[in-house]
Symmetry: C2
Subunit: 272 residues, 2 copies
């Protein structure tokens, strides 16, 4: 069985997509083609979306599933004329919220992911710059300004996690790679120990690490299982010795690693 799901929005489509995907992953054994159509903000675009929904419905022999966060009623009316099954996110939840708050919602389209406050936008950009400048042990003198410093062996997931924290939450995350040279010495480098309370460890299954490294540098010592096992072993020993919280990234997505770390250390999700 094959079905098609549409995520429709008059804005970025991120809310419809996020919600829709969360719901659809609860269903197994069904092939669902996913189509996001953002910026459906004119009757022409709505009509074109209806054509695509109806085409998918005919092709699949069953109605397309439509998750929609369109705010304007005239646009939504056009979408509702399609043969798809509507999951109208705002319609479902805005009314009970209006009752709770005792006021009407502003029905301003695309408000969520637009720049509501310049300071928020600014904080994210600034955090991305911080992550880039303090990536891979770059500028260690900035650690006093960091919210968190991720440490671990090369290719265990530090950089994407730092960037995700910066972009999604406006968190200033630095990272420092523990190199074989660092691991040949006892303990942790002084530059790190000076910020002991901000350190958070990442670790990874040595097999997965070897496979990631192998792809990057074929047949090098860097990617050998022996080397990976030794590095992971040494790094985990140091986390234990110094009581540094850590997460094994092997089976987690970037979102999970980032949110679990922030939850562990009690970092606020500033800019969601």
């Amino acid at each position: 069985m094959r079905r098609t799901a549409f995520f429709l929005s008059d804005g970025t489509g991120i809310t419809a997509e996020t919600l829709g995907n969360s719901l659809l992953t609860q269903f197994e054994g069904i092939t669902i083609e996913r189509v996001t159509i953002p910026y459906v903000d004119s009757p022409e675009k709505a009509t074109s979306a209806v054509t695509r929904i109806n085409d998918a419905t005919s092709r699949d022999g069953a109605p397309a599933i439509v998750f929609d966060t369109i705010v304007k009623q005239d646009i939504r009316d056009i979408i509702m004329s399609s043969r798809g099954v509507m999951f109208d996110v705002f319609d479902t939840f805005l009314k009970p919220l209006e009752e709770q708050f005792g006021i009407s919602s502003s029905y301003t389209s695309g408000k969520c992911h637009s720049i509501n406050e310049f300071s928020t936008y600014h904080k994210r950009i600034e955090s991305v710059n911080f992550a880039l400048e303090n990536d891979d042990g770059g500028r260690q003198q900035d650690y006093s300004k960091a919210d968190i410093i991720l440490i671990g062996v090369s290719r265990c997931g530090k950089t994407p996690t730092c960037l995700y924290m910066a972009l999604q939450f406006g968190v200033r995350a630095a990272n420092y790679p523990l190199t074989p040279e660092d691991l040949a010495l006892p303990g942790l480098p002084d530059t790190l120990m000076a910020h002991r309370e901000k350190l958070y460890g990442l670790t990874i299954d040595p097999f997965q690490l070897a496979s990631i490294r192998h792809e990057r540098r074929n047949n090098s010592r860097y990617g050998s299982l022996d080397q990976c096992e030794w590095e992971v072993d040494e790094v985990e020993k140091r986390f234990r010795q110094n009581g540094i919280m850590c997460i094994n990234t092997t089976h987690f997505s970037i979102e999970e690693i980032a949110t679990r770390i922030m939850d562990d250390v009690g970092l606020a999700r500033g800019v969601a």
Copy 2:
């Protein structure tokens, strides 16, 4: 009037947070404190969440709003015993979806933002690495592998947009800063024109550019309004001359810039 909203999840909390924030931004003139509690996956954590919900309700003198994407019924039952008003995302939408598909949902907690397919995870990480290596005009010989190449003056938003595209959608986005030296010559650099069909322009209001640059390097020529006006003018001229699509980033968030560009050029949102 002040109210508190909770985003509760047995996973990352990203779905509850995204949906809840989209809905709450539709209400103006009300101060809403937002609290995300991820990984509510045990009766103990659920009970602790209930305490926080009830405390907020007492403090505000009105029920807390609770957006919840918890899948397990026993955990959800505990949350339902709170004095908050529940907006139960899965409960609302899963039943009609089950009817549509004619199958039961798997009710597996935290499925969406976990690693469903290693290849997807891998594609994102790989795209982040690509964005970093091809940031700021870095490795121009990789442009043949790029999905898109963003061009524009320094500090107009290229880097965060590339990183967002990589992390959120697994898109390989390179970027090249058009420097004053580039802009002193006619046309666009040959390395770029060789990939003309992948170029996408970013532009920005010169006043905002000056303010961003000023903060970075106080009182430099780089941050002077004259210089910013000249650069933006020259860059926009080249976009027009070469028929390069472009977006003015001044009033857009990173999500909006990224999704609008992808919509413009028809890039698929691979990993949503």
